[in-house]
């Protein structure tokens, strides 16, 4: 039976009844315009791949920093020709300081042996030298908390002033420098990835704008039979969201592939210097962030194109 007419009575669609239609339609439209859809997905994937690459780089740098910080180490290099007395004096000095007590003496021979084992291909060069170029040193383990304290800095200063001490080196000086590098990496990655993602969103917007043009007649029919703008635009929005999400997933896949490749092929063949960059892949939250980034870019692109048609219509 026809419903009785209630003036001004509006009956909004329930999402449950329309969402499945949206998704079906969106998938169908993506399929019909396979090639252009692929371009959209690829654009998103590439920009997120680059963004993800930077994220991966900073992730591993970050991990290295924390790893090294866990065992902060001070190297006290003595003069090459330091006398045993002088060495004993330094040892006594270190022993009298609670913060510096965990010390280990490294002889010149041990230093050379260690160098040879680290840089095997350079050992020949070292052998040709008349004299062992490595100075004796003390290796002091300190906790990160102490290393960061102000008092410790002062101690280092007075240690440097002692005779027979050539150089005092501590890791965290360049760790802080590394931190600054990480910040730059993050900033560059976010900027580049953001700009690219925006470009990808505009690509999606243009593709959808074209699709809407080819569907113009059909959209007109839909309006005539009482379809709301929500129903008409829904599939286009979902189309963008699906493309974006697909791009995000593809980006993560590519990133993982590239990461594994680098870890198994690149890293072992070169020196250990690179090894630390390929230790861990992105954590789950960041993977999710990349995929969601794709979703958002896709949604934004389709929203841009869909939002436009508001004027028109009699």
């Amino acid at each position: 039976m026809p419903r009785d007419f209630i003036p001004g009575h509006l009956e909004p669609e329930t999402p449950a009844n329309t969402v499945s239609y949206f998704v079906r339609e969106a998938i169908r439209r993506i399929w019909i315009t396979k090639r252009t859809s692929f371009v959209s997905v690829a654009m998103i994937a590439i920009s997120l791949f680059i963004l993800g690459g930077f994220m991966l780089l900073s992730e591993n740098l970050e991990a290295a920093v924390t790893r090294w910080q866990g065992r902060s180490r001070v190297n006290v290099f003595l003069d090459t020709d330091a006398t045993p007395d002088q060495i004993r004096a330094v040892d006594a000095y270190l022993g009298s300081h609670p913060d510096l007590r965990a010390r280990r003496f490294i002889t010149r021979e041990q230093a050379m042996a260690r160098f040879k084992s680290y840089f095997a291909n350079l050992s020949g060069v070292v052998d040709q030298l008349d004299e062992n170029p490595f100075p004796p040193s003390f290796q002091i383990e300190v906790t990160p908390a102490i290393a960061q304290s102000r008092a410790f800095k002062e101690e280092m200063k007075s240690l440097r002033a002692m005779t027979a001490i050539e150089q005092v080196q501590f890791d965290w000086e360049w760790l802080t420098r590394l931190r600054r590098i990480i910040d730059v990496v993050n900033a560059v990655g976010l900027t580049a990835g953001g700009i690219l993602a925006l470009a990808a969103a505009f690509t999606i917007a243009n593709v959808i704008r074209l699709t809407m043009l080819t569907y113009r007649e059909e959209i007109e029919i839909m309006r005539l039979v009482g379809a709301t703008e929500r129903i008409i635009r829904g599939p286009f929005l979902i189309e963008g969201i699906l493309q974006g999400t697909l791009g995000g997933i593809l980006a993560v896949g590519l990133l993982f592939g590239a990461f594994e490749l680098a870890r198994h092929v690149l890293a072992p063949s070169s020196t250990m210097l690179w090894g630390f960059l390929f230790v861990s892949f992105l954590p789950l939250q960041k993977i999710a962030a990349i995929v969601v980034g794709g979703t958002v870019a896709g949604w934004f692109g389709s929203w841009l194109s869909v939002r436009e048609r508001a004027a028109e219509d009699a």
Partner: protein, 236 residues
Amino acid sequence: MIHFYHVTKKFDRYSTALHDVTFHIEKGEFIFLTGPSGAGKSTLLKLILRQMRPSEGQIVVNGRNLNAMRRSQLPYFRREIGMVFQDFKLIERMTVFENLSFILTVLNVPPKEHKRRAYQTLRAVNLHHKLNSYPLQLSGGEQQRVAIARALINDPLVLIADEPTGNLDPELAQEIVQIFAEANLRGSTVLLATHDRDLVQGTGRRSIVLEHGQLTEERPATPARPPREGAVFGMR
């Protein structure tokens, strides 16, 4: 139900598609709109659906003043009207079933009911075997019947048909008119535009006649043949 007050529609300065048309259709009526080709029948129907606005005059449909209706209300208004377009306006990319399913989606019918509803409605126009065909794979008459099925599917308050028998042989045309009569009995107000006078004659239904955009005649329902079921069935 449908009220026209001095409605004029001009497409440009020189031609007037409708001129000062006034008429009233009450709830539950079954009425024919006739007139020669180019008389303005389609234009009048388009005005009812608010596919276009009149140049002058007022139109009230289902208690709504179309001139004053907000655009946000338009979709909901149109859902109360089942329209069979002269050019069918089927979505070519979709199968017959999908065309109907789309309407049901628009009408907020749960998806699991779509199959049954579509089949039922198609049965009424004897096209249930073409559920999975695309419109372009159908003959003109078959497409027309799909368009009719789409208009009927929700028992609309107002059922409007623009030349719904144009592509059908006389026998099938009578069957279609009967389908509209049944919808009318279920409560839909029916307005049927046709230039086929044979279709109108003998039904005893009220009809309004357009000529050159002007309402020239209003024939009341023949008292001897009241607009009952029998009026239509008697023609077979």
